[in-house]
Symmetry: C2
Subunit: 236 residues, 2 copies
């Protein structure tokens, strides 16, 4: 059975962490919310249908008779079933930990432009966003990047001792990509301190197994999702 | 070997999700950062020590030669090893999904009083907190509670079809407890809509396996942690 991915149409969003893993592993899937006219009503109807294991929010993956939600949880499933993470307990938990830390940073990057309410427009919370952005650029961004750089210093190119990428490597690539899109000035000013992270970003960008996807219209550009480029929130 | 838990001394915080699971399961552990004079310097020194799998932040658990961090990841480990969640794939992923959704709500409850920067004092972001609190009380709080209530309607007392609690049940209890502490007026106004959640909260509070812990000084009261009671952020 082909896996069914459900995520908001129109933005890469958190669905993209799942897409990257499915695409890099060559796993067949349907991107259900983007089929037909791509109207968001279909996703909402499906999400609210009666299930014993309902998702709280997209993305979710229908696979092997299960409805699996929460990005890190979907990736845990894919990692275990398709060998996209080490299979021993220590390696499996390590990759899950990295994924959860990446997810924490994604929330913080999102809340830079939505510090008050995810249900309001950016323009309604712009004053607060300007203030949160300053702390994010100065304190949080370097703290997270330094952490991942330190992690990479223990290994040889990827986030584990494996010779192959794990799903966390793909996710860290997407996180870096989003930060480069949203905060180009700040990233340009500090990336010289994180050469191993820059290397990982490039290594995933060059993965042969992702080139078809990157060139396809299955891949959506950044826009009004988690990572947004508002010039007033960026700065050296 | 006795497990070693590391978490900030003085507040229950995210460490409490792990403590509840360890205590309810009767697993021996040391609460390392609370030993001796309990100075936070020891935790910081240990956390920054050179490890191939370093934690980004507490809590972390040293167990079976691993350093396991991220609350949901620690609980995934404990759940698998000590039978604190269903052992089949669907049940294991379901409990992990619930835990991650609980974790999302914890971040939002924390950010009510810290909407701008976790490294600043509440008093420095009080104006923004008042605004975020309004949205949290009106939109986010009912949304999450309604979700968990709906989940519970599919089962018989706990969050899974098991006859016994899982670690997510313990965590949902702690989340409810924190919300009742932080937002007593708002919770009093809306809890009549969530009778199954109220039942779960009481059921965990009454668990025989937790009574010794609840009566001990190992359990810390809420204070200046994730859940804080600022009367100005509460309201019907």
């Amino acid at each position: 059975m082909i896996y069914e991915l459900w995520y908001w149409n129109g933005i890469p969003g958190r669905g993209e962490f799942v897409r990257l893993a499915l695409e890099a592993a060559g796993i067949a899937y349907r991107d259900c919310a983007r089929e037909g006219d791509g109207d968001s009503r279909r996703l909402i109807d499906d999400m609210l249908s009666d299930r014993a294991c309902p998702p709280f929010a997209p993305p979710y993956l229908i696979a092997d008779g299960m409805t699996i939600s929460q990005t890190a949880n979907i990736l845990l499933f894919l990692g275990e079933k398709h060998g996209l993470a080490p299979s021993d307990t220590a390696g499996r938990l390590w990759v899950n930990q990295l994924q959860l830390t990446i997810a924490d940073m994604v929330v913080e990057a999102h809340d830079v432009h939505h510090p008050i309410a995810s249900g309001m427009y950016y323009e309604e919370q712009k004053v607060e966003a300007l203030r949160r952005a300053q702390d994010f650029r100065q304190a949080r961004l370097p703290k997270y990047l330094a952490y991942f750089e330190k992690v990479l210093s223990h290994y040889d190119g990827w986030l584990t001792s494996s010779a192959r990428w794990s799903y966390a490597d793909l996710s860290l690539y997407l996180l870096m990509d989003g930060l480069l899109f949203a905060f180009p000035k700040r990233m340009a000013a500090i990336m010289h301190s994180y050469p191993l992270l820059a290397g990982l970003h490039q290594r995933v960008a060059d993965l042969p197994e992702l080139q078809d996807y990157f060139a396809s219209d299955r891949r959506l550009p950044f826009g009004d999702g988690m990572f947004r480029h508002y010039p007033e929130l960026d700065g050296r």
